[in-house]
């Protein structure tokens, strides 16, 4: 490590669980973040700041004024800019030593495997069930660890899939019927909840890479901002899981119709 790198990362190198070895691991690692929005923004900032050597960021959308209340990687003068470009610029300024890869596209069944196969850890920061299930399925097929998260109103939840452990479909076998569960644009979201949960996702990636502590694997962390309560719920791998169970019914990736976006 160079002298300026030792200084940049000194506050985490000093941690006995990270140290120089952990920092080298971070610098040699790669994380893919799907979505440069409410969850992606804090996750991307902290991963770049921590010196994850290669970070992929995918988003198909452009910055809108209604995003700025929570998607803190985008600024007022970014309105109209592609989110992947806006995120790239901030991350590059934060840490020019690392490599940021931009994907200005919508993740789908055709492209996801090719994209995520080259990353060590995946972060789900997307805002719709079809893509959340697609990320799960692709990660299970490719034996990739990933962090799932969802946020709504004043609450959020997150859990980490490790190959062989419980997956998202062990908890939720299939997406809810369209229209039954509201989206953030319909139901609202308080910005710092995205900050809390997205930061936990960054922590999970850092912990996975540096082999530090206990991951949220086989556990779901829920956060209720109104009561200020965090809980973890034990999640058992389900033998009847449609993708990782004993008799899987899902054997290939499938595109599901995305609900139309109401910005």
């Amino acid at each position: 490590m160079r002298n300026d790198e030792l200084l940049r990362y000194s506050r985490q190198i000093i941690l006995e669980q990270i140290g120089g070895t952990g920092q080298e691991k971070l610098l040699a690692s790669s994380v893919f973040v799907a979505g440069a929005g409410g969850l992606g923004a804090p996750a991307l900032y902290y991963l770049a700041a921590a010196g994850v050597g290669r970070i992929g960021v995918a988003d198909w959308d452009a910055v809108d004024i209604s995003n700025l209340q929570r998607q803190i990687i985008h600024f007022t003068d970014d309105i109209g800019k592609l989110k992947s470009d806006s995120a790239f610029e901030k991350l590059h300024r934060l840490n020019p030593d690392i490599k940021i890869e931009r994907f200005n596209l919508q993740i789908d069944a055709e492209n996801i495997s090719d994209i995520i196969k080259d990353y060590d850890f995946i972060i789900d920061g997307v805002d719709n069930f079809p893509t959340k299930f697609l990320i799960n399925d692709a990660a299970v097929f490719l034996n990739k660890p990933f962090s799932h998260a969802g946020i709504l109103r004043f609450s959020g939840q997150t859990f980490t899939h490790i190959p062989g452990g419980a997956c998202y479909r062990c908890m939720f076998p299939a997406p809810p019927p369209a229209g039954l569960v509201p989206t953030c644009s319909e139901a609202g979201i308080i910005g710092p909840v995205a900050g809390v949960i997205g930061s936990v996702q960054a922590l999970e990636a850092i912990k996975y890479i540096t082999e530090t502590g206990q991951l949220l694997s086989d556990r779901l962390l829920t956060f209720d901002a109104l009561t200020s309560e965090f809980r973890t719920i034990k999640i058992k791998h389900a033998n009847n899981c449609p993708i990782c169970g004993d008799n899987p019914t899902i054997t290939e990736l499938q595109n599901t119709e995305l609900p139309t976006c109401d910005i």
Partner: protein, 69 residues
């Protein structure tokens, strides 16, 4: 009857009720909106009606959360 619902002890007036009845009591309008763990095991949606809860059962409602951006 005493149940532990999402980590909190609650007294339910009924002494015999099914999981689907509990969902109604808890204002879950459609069973497809949640995933339910009973004493640590996931219960399939089509068994909600026939699953009768007992004293001290531990019920977790896991809510779908689809937001992220």
């Amino acid at each position: 009857m005493k149940l532990i619902i999402n980590g909190k002890e609650e007294n339910i007036a009924e002494n015999e009720l099914s999981l689907s009845k509990l969902l109604t009591l808890k204002d879950v309008k459609f069973p497809q909106m949640v995933s339910v763990q009973l004493n640590g095991e996931f219960v399939k949606t089509d068994l909600y009606e026939s699953k009768i809860l007992k004293e001290n059962d531990n019920v977790e409602f896991l809510y779908f959360m689809g937001g992220g951006r």
